[in-house]
């Protein structure tokens, strides 16, 4: 096809749908995802001449086939060509096999269309004497499903008529798409309400569902299509279902549509766990009879939104969908879709009710050929169709390859059908009930064998072998003294015999209440050798708890030391004091006892926090302990003997690894005793001594040491367990050890013996995830992810983790009921048990499990499991307390508390130091009203600007001014206006590497159109500047702005341009420089304000930040640069309303609002700044500037709030962070989590008393940090205690606890008050550094002005930088006063 001459007068705009497709295609120019190809397989002899003639006539009668798209001044337009000479190619494939025909069709369907040529491709293929295939491919810009049938029927009719010789009988009346374009344009005004409806509608959507847990960034448009026929039987059943009165809608199609939509919603809910979901679905959008017969693209996509509740059944969800569909139909009016509505969903349901008839009386089979690509925004598309009117419905799923792996792509239709079948079988079925996996998948899921075949060597046997093999090797080191293997074995044999003498042998429980010491190890070995089992009791347990454990465990002996035992209460259990009975023990024989323990017999019982208020004992057998420790010895083996430190609590099952691993493998155990009082600093000693090569610890331990380098450390193996292990922490630690260590994440509740799922951390492969995977089950163990009906969930989907195998505990001591509840019968393996962990997890494509948190109220603090209910039960027992609730608060969650917004400007209540009056108006708004009038003096007349810029232009060598062009509306408008003035303008844009494509296109278009000289500035230091800005200001904009000012000033200097004109908005003036202090004077002197601002600019350019370090800023050293190049703010002289600006831009300039940045900005990195600011400060960095825009009347409050609330794509944010090399500050998990107790009772009780009393029954780590007396506990609507509300209440209270050095003198007090107010802090200590507190030039203006007022002084702006602390500055003030006197 040759390019045609275009009749310019026929330029037509694009419809809303076309605009979105056009933009989509522009973003992915090489992806054929808008190709709509059909093959019509005709069983009959076709007269090819006539077919060709008919096709030529089809082109003549359908303007859609003659439409081309061209960009004119950057705006897309469509033209209808008068004629398109085209001869339908004929191809002879007869004799070729089916495969090669299909392959040809597939390849041809994926050809990219050139948008400025007619957007169709067609071929007639002869596949045999009696078989012809008509291939027709159109770009979606000119067609849709209905359009395909119209074209097909028109062709059918033309061919038949021509064949009969009725040359005159043209095609059936085919209407022109041009009419629709005009119709839609006319609809805009009628539809404002509907447009607003959709805008409001999508606000409930927070984040798109992560299908099968996938949270990768979707980059590819490549998709696989999998088709599945519902089959005759199922289609019939479906028709019966939709005839039910509860299901039935207006029409059969509508009924089917709601059933499929309901099923798809159920599917999304099941594979993502998300409850607020959106599905995009096309409205055919052919509102009149005429448009129903017009070829062209009419469809528009709108979302259907469902809020699913956990107890919804298919029927109850269907009822919601019916109402939702009603609203959908009511509001899906022509031209109301937008980029925003289009972005609100990542799943599309396409219910196609078009079908093709026979061709010229010959049977015809059609196929809609998938071009192997889809818009990447659509992760899943489900097409429902029966295009050949066969009466059997076919489903096609188009699945994005970044979202779904190969297995999942094959599995999706099966999972969908499982739900559909459950729906058909019983519409009252709960959505969560049907099994998603097919029978085949289920049988392959349970293949893991959990029977251990080899007999595992008992721990004691392995230890004794080592003692015989290396008698002189050091086994234990404690306080500089060593004990050899032989000695250790001899001494434990002696103690074992002594225990037997006391009757503490076979099956007897022996409590061990000792500090970490050789005696502790000897005791454990002795107990096991004697055939008993041990209960470790840490030395720091409160007496009440010890009493409970001793009694509950039914211990027959208590091994201790007199130093500890003396403190104990009266008790029944006989005491064995190792120090007192030492002599007698040493008289026993030293040879091995050679008892063989029953594998099922108990080895130890560890007491963990229990929800009833009392700890519960987890009973571990020899078999479980032996299998774990043998596995660990083999798995963690490096070729070197294990040298472990023993430094964690003996009451914590994590410690089991360090305790036994060295002893059974011929290594060394270095014992670090606990501190007698105060916090345990053993870990630091371990690292300092540097005597070990392996260590077992918790992520909380690692947080403590993060930030320090350990290049010289000998640690090579690090086993981490106990709690969620963040990838960022793991990476930091790996780096701290120069990547010379292997880090393992070992997961396992006490009930499954220390560890049973493990993953070797890989900094490269694991970096995509927030937490290190917990990995795969160890041999002999099974880790299953099941739903609430104990059915396996598909790969990727979140479920509850269940554990089975030889490592399971025997149960809970004396708690048969609880044991039955937590250790259930294995649903697949009779005779086996499963432990219900209560942990949520999912598996990834590589078979690794990922831990995702707890299902219930149980929390972990520093790796130790805590039942909040246990603490609550203990508090409630205390005197004068009625009821209590304990919550663990996570400081990071402070941002979640309910935020109110100023009723006038929208400023959020979490903005620092904001104050609201009774009407909900913020103090900034009320104050501004007081000086607003005065600020008017600051603004000037447009004429003045013109005068400044146009006088003495003859002196300027090349340009009269330089203007900063960001590509946004404000700066574009400024540029255009400057050109209007007839000036010689140089436009400058900083290419920060993240300008969106569309914004760049805008810039290029605008400068070409205006014929202005334009340069892009850039710097290799940009990323470093971003990182610095994120650390310093928690946003990227400050760094970017400063770079722009620096680079543009340099250019202006070089080119001798006297003025730089900025496009800063009036809101930005107030945000960045016009502080209220500048208007305090009754008689405001504008020249003085200008001087102050100029001084501030000097300081600004001399601040020591990344820009100062990395760019050439030497020019700012000399004050005269500020005279040679002056900054003029365009909007200081011009007040332009948004409507006026947009109208001007629309009419005069080809400026289009970018749609590819996801928000109203030109810059893709912007959202990183917003993300970091929100995370660190709790509110958006735009909250403050926008509040000024609202005050200025340049935005409405609603617009400002809308823009601030726009969702952020976290994945993209993380990707950019990595790209620029920014790391979010590491928060130590032990610091951020705190236990807070709330209680009711007649009176408030002293916290220290409560702490003290509670300390008698609970260990220190379970005692809340704060106690708050409440009149009543807040309740949820269901009457349950509202724990969320309690967590929110706390944040403010906690912020009071920040330590600081209080001001001492009167001057210091006044200063501290001023600083705190300006820097928006609660308190400022006298030694806090102004710059470190975030003080910059703007803050300097405000602080200096206020201090000058308070002390009646006249300090220069930079004084605060010379004396940057309150202590120093106040001294300076005193000295100055002294001098004056």
């Amino acid at each position: 096809m040759k390019p045609e001459t275009i009749n310019k007068e026929k330029l037509l705009p694009l419809t809303q749908s076309q605009l979105l497709m056009w933009a989509g295609q522009k973003l992915y120019p090489d992806a054929p995802f808008y190709n709509m190809a059909h093959s019509f397989d005709i069983e009959g002899r076709i007269n090819t001449d006539i077919f060709q003639k008919a096709f030529a006539e089809l082109i003549v009668s359908c303007d859609a086939l003659r439409t081309v798209f061209r960009e004119e001044n950057g705006l897309p337009g469509q033209y209808i060509l008068a004629e398109v000479p085209f001869e339908l190619p004929l191809m002879d494939f007869s004799g070729k096999d089916e495969q090669s025909i299909r392959q040809w069709l597939q390849e041809r369907s994926e050809q990219i269309f050139d948008l400025d040529r007619p957007l169709f491709d067609s071929v007639l293929i002869k596949a045999g004497e009696e078989r012809f295939i008509w291939f027709l491919n159109l770009h979606h810009l000119v067609t849709d499903a209905t359009s395909s049938t119209i074209l097909y029927e028109a062709m059918n009719k033309l061919y038949t008529s021509f064949l009969e010789g009725n040359e005159e009988d043209r095609a059936a009346e085919v209407f022109s798409f041009e009419d629709y374009i005009r119709f839609e344009t006319g609809q805009e005004e009628k539809n404002t309400e509907n447009i607003a409806y959709w805008k409001e509608k999508i606000k409930v959507l927070r984040s798109e569902p992560k299908l099968y847990g996938n949270n990768k960034t979707v980059k590819t448009s490549r998709t696989d299509r999998v088709s599945v026929s519902l089959g005759k039987e199922r289609t019939e059943k479906l028709k019966t279902l939709i005839a039910q009165p509860e299901v039935r809608s207006w029409t059969q199609d509508l009924s089917l549509f709601t059933v499929f939509t309901t099923t798809l919603f159920a599917f999304l809910y099941r594979v993502s766990g998300q409850k607020t979901l959106a599905i995009g679905t096309p409205s055919h959008n052919r509102p009149t009879k005429k448009f129903k017969q017009t070829p062209g693209v009419f469809i528009e996509l709108y979302p259907l939104i469902a809020g699913i509740e956990d107890n919804d059944s298919f029927l109850s969800l269907l009822q919601k969908i019916k109402t939702e569909t009603n609203d959908y139909l009511r509001h899906a009016q022509p031209g109301c879709s937008s980029a925003e509505t289009g972005r609100s969903f990542n799943v599309v349901l396409n219910y196609i009710n078009a079908s093709f008839s026979d061709f010229n009386g010959y049977p015809m089979n059609s196929e809609w050929i998938h071009p192997s690509h889809c818009d990447p925004m659509h992760h899943l598309r489900c097409h429902v169709q029966d295009m050949d009117a066969s009466g059997i419905i076919e489903l096609q799923f188009d699945l994005n390859k970044d979202v779904f792996n190969k297995d999942q792509i094959q599995a999706v239709p099966g999972h969908f059908l499982q739900l559909l079948d459950a729906f058909i079988a019983d519409m009252e079925t709960p959505l969560s009930k049907p099994v998603l996996l097919t029978d085949k998948e289920i049988s392959s899921y349970f293949t893991e064998d959990i029977k251990t075949e080899n007999k595992i060597k008992p721990l004691i046997e392995r230890f004794e072998e080592n003692a015989a093999a290396y008698p002189d090797r050091t086994a234990l080191v404690f306080k500089g003294e060593s004990i050899t293997f032989e000695e250790l074995n001899n001494r434990s044999n002696q103690l074992a015999r002594y225990l037997k003498d006391q009757g503490a042998d076979d099956g007897k429980t022996i409590a061990v209440y000792l500090r970490r010491s050789p005696d502790y190890i000897i005791s454990l070995l002795a107990i096991l050798k004697a055939g008993g089992n041990y209960v470790p009791i840490p030395s720091d347990y409160p007496l009440k708890r010890i009493d409970f454990i001793l009694e509950e465990s039914n211990a027959s002996v208590l091994i201790s030391h007199s130093e500890l035992a003396d403190k104990l209460n009266e008790r029944e259990v006989p005491l064995l004091c190792l120090d007192k009975e030492q002599e007698k023990i040493l008289k026993e024989g030293t040879e091995n006892l050679k008892l063989e323990a029953d594998p099922e017999a108990l080895a130890y019982t560890i007491y963990t926090s229990g929800s009833t208020g009392k700890p519960k004992g987890v009973m571990i057998s020899h078999k479980a302990l032996d299998s774990y420790i043998n596995w660990a010895a083999e798995y963690y083996h490096t070729g070197e003997a294990f040298n472990f430190p023993l430094f964690t609590s003996i009451g914590f099952d994590l410690t089991v690894t360090s305790t036994f691993l060295p002893l059974i493998s011929g290594g060394k155990l270095l014992i670090y005793g606990e501190a007698v009082s105060g916090p345990d600093m053993s870990l630091l000693n371990v690292l300092e001594d540097n005597q070990v090569n392996s260590i077992k610890l918790t992520p909380s331990h690692l947080s403590l040491i993060a930030g320090t380098k350990f290049s010289d450390s000998g640690i090579r193996t690090m086993i981490v367990g106990g709690e969620d292990f963040k990838t960022s922490l793991a990476a930091t630690i790996a780096e701290a050890f120069d990547n010379k260590i292997r880090i393992y994440n070992e997961y396992g509740p006490t009930e499954a013996t220390v560890g049973c799922v493990v993953h070797n951390f890989d900094p490269e492969k694991d970096k995509e995830e927030a937490s290190v995977p917990i990995g795969k089950a160890i041999p002999g163990m099974q880790a299953l992810i099941l739903d609430e009906y104990l059915q396996p969930v598909p790969q990727g989907v979140i479920g509850e983790l269940y554990l089975g195998g030889s490592g399971l505990a025997n149960g809970y001591a004396n708690r048969p009921e609880l044991s039955r509840e937590r250790f259930i019968e294995h649903p697949q393996l009779p005779g086996e048990r499963l432990y219900v962990t209560g942990d949520l997890a999912r598996s990834d494509g590589k078979g690794n499990l990922h831990y995702l948190g707890r299902k219930d109220e149980q929390v972990k603090l520093g790796g130790i499991r805590i039942e909040l209910a246990e603490i609550e039960a203990n508090i409630s027992e205390l005197e004068n307390i009625d009821e209590s609730v304990v919550v663990m608060i996570d400081k990071k969650k402070g941002a979640d508390e309910e935020v109110k917004n100023c009723t006038e400007c929208g400023l959020p209540s979490n903005f620092p130091s904001v104050d609201f009056n009774e009407e909900g108006v913020c103090h900034l708004c009320t104050t501004f009203k007081g000086y607003e009038e005065k600020t008017k003096k600051y603004f000037k007349d447009p004429k003045e600007l013109k005068e400044i810029l146009t006088t003495s232009t003859e002196n300027n060598p090349e340009y009269d001014c330089l203007t900063l062009l960001s590509g946004g509306k404000d700066s574009t408008y400024v540029l255009a206006k400057l050109m209007d003035m007839g000036l010689r303008v140089l436009a400058f844009t900083l290419d920060n590497g993240y300008i969106s494509d569309q914004a760049k296109a805008n810039i290029d278009r605008v400068v070409t159109q205006l014929g202005v000289d334009h340069i892009y500035g850039d710097t290799p230091a940009m990323n470093e500047i971003f990182v610095d800005s994120l650390h310093r200001h928690k946003n990227v904009c400050n760094g970017c702005f400063k770079t722009i000012y620096t680079l543009s000033t340099r250019i202006a200097l070089e080119k001798k341009i006297p003025y730089i004109v900025t496009g800063l908005s009036r809101g930005q003036f107030f945000e960045t420089r016009l502080t209220e202090e500048l208007f305090w004077d009754e008689d405001v002197d504008i020249r003085e304000i200008d001087n102050t601002i100029l001084e501030a600019r000097k300081i600004y350019h001399r601040e020591e930040d990344a820009v100062c370090k990395l760019l050439d800023v030497s020019m700012f050293e000399n004050d005269n640069v500020f005279e040679k190049v002056q900054f003029l703010d365009f909007y200081r002289y011009n007040d332009v309303s948004l409507e006026e600006m947009l109208r001007y831009l629309k009419e005069k300039i080809s400026w289009v609002r970018p749609t590819d940045t996801g928000r109203s900005t030109n810059c893709l990195i912007n959202q990183v700044g917003i993300y970091v600011h929100k995370k660190e400060m709790g509110y958006s960095n735009y909250a403050f500037p926008y509040s000024w825009d609202v005050r200025m009347g340049h935005k409405t409050r609603e617009e400002a709030l809308d823009e601030i609330d726009e969702p952020i794509e976290e994945k993209e944010v993380f990707r950019i962070m990595e790209e620029i090399g920014y790391k979010l500050p590491e928060e130590s998990s032990s610091d951020s989590n705190k236990l807070i107790a709330y209680y009711t009772g007649d009176e408030k009780r002293s916290s220290s008393e409560l702490r003290q009393e509670l300390g008698k029954s609970l260990p220190g780590y379970m005692i809340p940090v704060h106690f708050k007396h409440m009149e009543a506990l807040p309740l949820t609507p269901n009457g349950k205690i509202d724990r969320m509300a309690l967590q929110d209440l706390n944040d403010a209270q906690l912020s009071m606890d920040t330590p600081y050095v209080a001001p001492q003198t009167e001057i210091e007090e006044i200063m501290a008050e001023i600083w705190a107010e300006v820097l928006k802090m609660d308190k400022v200590g006298i030694h806090d550094d102004f710059i470190a507190l975030g003080g910059h030039s703007l803050a300097a203006i405000r602080v200096t002005a206020r201090m000058n007022e308070a002390f009646e002084m006249d300090f220069a702006l930079n004084t605060v930088f010379e004396y940057p602390t309150i202590a120093e500055f106040s001294k300076h003030i005193e000295n100055t006063i002294m001098e004056l006197l």
Partner: protein, 86 residues
């Protein structure tokens, strides 16, 4: 009332190339004469024409199957409306 409805339906809603004559007792829904988007257009037309709101629970086959059904439904609605006004 039937006439107004028939005019609107045959003039604006019905697809297909030939003009179809509509009778008051023709099945609009089962026959596929009017699709769901068309029905919603009809609802909007009625709401506008007769100044009333049709709630989703009233959008049933029983009320909308034929022009006759629609007229009956509307008459009840209009009567009820005037009744409440009185």
């Amino acid at each position: 009332m039937n006439r107004i409805l028939i005019n609107y339906i045959s003039g604006e809603l019905i697809g297909g190339s030939e003009d179809v004559a509509i009778n008051a007792d023709d099945d609009l829904l089962g026959s596929g004469l009017v699709d769901s988007l068309g029905m919603m257009k009809l609802v909007l037309f009625i709401e506008n024409e007769f100044q009333l709101k049709i709630p989703p629970e009233d959008m049933t086959i029983e009320n909308f199957m034929t022009v006759e059904c629609i007229s009956n439904y509307l008459e009840t609605r209009i009567q009820n409306n005037t009744a409440t006004v009185k």
